[in-house]
Symmetry: C2
Subunit: 569 residues, 2 copies
């Protein structure tokens, strides 16, 4: 920002670029709505009232609020790259996100963070980042990268880095793991906040976690949990994602004393929800519909996250802050009719404006280091009973079941009648294509195979299928796309969704991704899958930090004991 230019315009010596007249200005500092005009120069708000202006726009008495801020989001969950994510959420009034590029960091490490930082340049909103604190999540799987404190250190100098991201490794904090402590010290030394992630943590363990300086939590699922954390000094991010939705539960905690330390986040929103519901605006609308004062709802999506992260140039309509503005007509049902980013209209009535150019795509390193021809999914039958993962609809937890082995020619195979389907996880990083093998029940697959390179947290390739050949075809399709989703039936690929960015993100608009995703789900259903979103369920079957039984490329993980266990019992 050229302060001299801004200040000169503010004192009235130079004409401003744009004057928005006849507006109702939402003042987040006093909680008042003030009739007036907003003067903008060089993308920055410089003052109010009757300035000489190159251009004047009459807003006809409509409301103007600061652009909305998502305090915690994984862009990867939208399955689109930063450019397309920005074009999806800017029309919702989102002008700033604090993104945790945790998924791509697990795949590509520092190169992934660097890719995201470069991708953020020139977009029609501010994409800021928190630095992933827990890469890899565990040692129970082959990861794409390991980021220790030393790897993170150089990033803190980057102006888009505003925090250390959710410290999911709360045992590492509580038991003062050296690398965890080094990461916290690093954030502290840069006067940066440290986000938390501590589902259900309470009492002494929570005291220990907060004593370390962890300053926020977005995992509260009950009012009691949120109040306990808030009273220990944590800022509470109320999450409304695709799966985890906590507003109803946490609503009673929001009052005149606490609102100031609470804010909205979406964490993980899939393409369908972004398009059907919206983004931060959807959370604000829902909160207002539940009875929250609209000014408070707006402040929890603007000045509160700005203050929390020390973002001084956004979150309010005030001199020196970016002219990021949401224009709407009804406080009771806030819908962005027009969105300004840095003084420029970027979206109207839910659509990005045609003049908003896409920056040139940023190249992303490859992340598929395996030859699918080498794969062997066969499982010699070494017993009559085995551990089987039970997938639970709409949940990331699983259960462990002990079931009979179906044997054919000395090998354990899928039993479609009993809904016991072979599942494998293939390491995509080391070049060794190490493969963990097991069985899943609850998917419902009757024929063919489905595969995906979105497999939390390390994002190896996960595949489930009724025949080894079709599983191989599905994995080959994923590898050939440089990552993505594939459904195979009758020996051929029925549907696919390329995710060329680290095997996690598309380079297509979110609408296209949703259409492709609908096609994928239809294909999986056609193969017999009974779940609402079989690929989402599949994507969490490899996550070895959530109980009970998971499969990684290293084998079956009993998460309750945090160890690899044999398939056969």
């Amino acid at each position: 920002m050229d302060f001299t230019k801004i200040i000169t315009a503010a004192r009235g010596d130079d004409p401003v670029d744009l004057l928005l007249v006849n507006t109702k200005i939402v003042n987040v500092f006093s909680g008042r709505v003030i009739d007036g005009s907003i003067a903008i120069k060089d993308g920055t708000i410089i003052g109010f009232g009757d300035y000489d202006a190159a251009r004047t726009v009459d807003l006809k008495g409509r409301y103007v609020a600061p652009g909305f801020i998502d305090s915690h989001v994984h862009i990867e969950s939208s399955m689109t790259c930063v450019a397309e994510f920005a074009r999806a959420v800017a029309p919702c009034g989102t002008t700033t996100v604090v993104a945790d590029p945790h998924e791509i960091a697990n795949v590509l490490g520092a190169a992934g963070i660097d890719y995201m930082l470069r991708s953020a340049e020139g977009q029609p909103m501010d994409c800021l980042f928190a630095l992933p604190s827990c890469v890899p999540a565990t040692d129970m799987e082959t990861a794409g990268a390991r980021l220790n404190a030393g790897d993170l250190a150089p990033f803190f100098a980057h102006p888009r880095i505003v925090a250390l991201a959710e410290m999911m490794n709360y045992p590492g904090v509580i038991f003062t793991d050296a690398d965890v402590m080094a990461k916290l010290a690093l954030a502290r030394s840069h006067h940066r906040t440290m986000d938390g992630h501590a589902p259900g943590l309470s009492g002494r363990e929570l005291f220990a976690y907060t004593a370390a300086g962890i300053a926020s939590d977005h995992e509260c699922t009950s009012a009691g949990e949120a109040l306990e954390k808030l009273e220990l000094g944590m800022h509470i991010m109320v999450r409304e994602g695709t799966c985890a939705r906590n507003l109803e539960a946490l609503f009673p905690v929001i009052d005149e004393h606490t609102w100031r330390r609470m804010m909205w986040c979406t964490d993980d929103r899939h393409p369908h929800d972004l398009l059907a519901e919206g983004h931060v605006d959807a959370v604000i609308r829902k909160a207002v519909a539940m009875g929250l004062d609209p000014l408070t709802a707006i402040r929890m999506g603007t000045i509160n996250p700005a203050d929390y992260f020390g973002i001084k140039d956004a979150g309010a309509i005030a001199p020196g802050r970016k002219a990021n503005l949401v224009i709407f007509s009804d406080l009771a049902d806030i819908r962005a009719e027009q969105v300004f980013y840095m003084g420029r209209p970027v979206a109207e009535n839910g659509r990005i404006l045609p003049g908003i150019e896409r920056p040139a795509p940023v190249s992303v390193p490859p992340s598929m280091r395996l030859d699918p021809r080498d794969l062997d999914f066969s499982i010699p039958a070494k017993g009559g009973r085995m551990r089987v993962i039970r997938a639970v609809a709409d949940q990331v937890v699983t259960r462990c079941e002990i079931m009979d082995v179906t044997e054919k020619d000395g090998f354990a195979v899928s039993d479609t009648a009993g809904d016991v389907i072979k599942m494998c996880v293939v390491d995509r990083y080391s070049g060794q294509a190490q493969t963990g093998k097991g069985f899943v029940t609850g998917l419902g697959l009757k024929r063919g195979a489905i595969a995906s390179s979105v497999a939390h947290d390390s994002h190896n390739i996960i595949v489930a299928g009724v025949s080894d050949a079709e599983m191989q075809t599905a994995v080959s399709a994923v590898v050939d796309m440089g990552g993505g989703l594939a459904a195979v039936g009758g020996g051929r690929v029925l549907a696919d969704l390329p995710l060329p960015v680290a095997g996690l993100m598309s380079d297509q608009p979110v609408e296209a991704v949703r259409r492709q995703m609908d096609g994928m789900i239809a294909a999986a259903r056609d193969l017999g899958a009974g779940l609402a979103d079989p690929f989402m369920t599949l994507g969490f079957l490899a996550l070895p930090v959530i109980p009970d039984l998971k499969l990684t490329d290293k084998g079956l993980v009993d998460v309750t004991r945090f160890e690899i266990v044999p398939l056969f019992v």
Copy 2:
């Protein structure tokens, strides 16, 4: 802070040092009072409830609040050094101050700031600092130092530096003076806040000032002024000093929306008020007596300034924060019965505890570069009419009067009958003893002379008297003390108050300073002075930033025109 030790204790693996049981804990995050126990280890709050403790203290149901924070104070106004100031305010419940060492910086420059930083070590409270932004205040006087952005830069790395102090040079901001802009950029690059000082600034000039990023103001004198500034994003420090008291005027602005961006400060409190009324506690009591919710009043003196300055280890009773605590019995009349600093009792019932040792004094560079024998106070009469400064009781403004010259032997002399008394300001820095000469009316001196090295903002030596010889004796006394106050009558020193620290601060306890000050005022009254505090009035007669007519070592300053004017008209 040793986080490993703190976290280990928090999770319960090591016994804590101290457990305060049977307490009513003021939770500044939720605005609730919670019954419970507070566990302390290594001076840090680590948790709540039933910890194994080396020592347990039963507080018998009394309230415990976080130690109070003064968001803006000039310690020099207490006329005592840091050690004695700390011993004066800690018993009031103040455990943190953000001090602007502006006065000593005007005398000693970076060496003065360094002296204050070193003096802050080992005191029974946290003395943090904001870096003086406007040294010298003007070029209309010989100053002890000049601090440009480059001089300030190294200090930002010091852990006690939390802000750039009040940017009094608001014209410099509004007209983008290069050195001012460099200072602001410096604070910004260190993620540090910038305090403001903009009495009466409004509209476009205020837009320009806030567009530069100035984030607070403590000079508001009306509710309208405070609301305008708050709505532009400034944090409002409500000042209750010895002279300037703004709580009544600003009280209407404090509500459920605004309280979060408002806080208390004392700015300048003289020894008498510190002893008679108190410190931040006095402001809190007054606000509560006026009807403010006690929890809000406490939060405006604890978590609000902590959040504003990014002080993460104070301002709340929460894990990881210093065990700085105020214990009291009555929310309606909050009086510190016991004060803990870092888990240790430091004061009880208004008195510092005997066991609280004074750190070894820090040496301070000399600041008296003149030989009083060189001085010449004679004024050859070059006209019959002259400009005379009219001192106004209890005000820092003056008026300019045109009066007849009283002539004797070709020289202009004092006219005690007409209350027109000679006044001089002697440069104490350059070694040249440059002397500005003039006359003052309103002081009331009938005989003798009074002199002081406290003369805002450059703190040259100011002296008023009825004879040149007694003026010389008074200045000699000040110089011999290495700075201070002196009253001379009948040719000899009647009373003095040594201020050996930069000519601004005593090394004696505040009680002793008050007794000495009372003696000084009595002596001045005995000489005929009629004002409540003639030395305070005298101390502002050299301040060339406050209208109308002032005297510096360079001569009479017409502040309305901002230029040196001749004595004779």
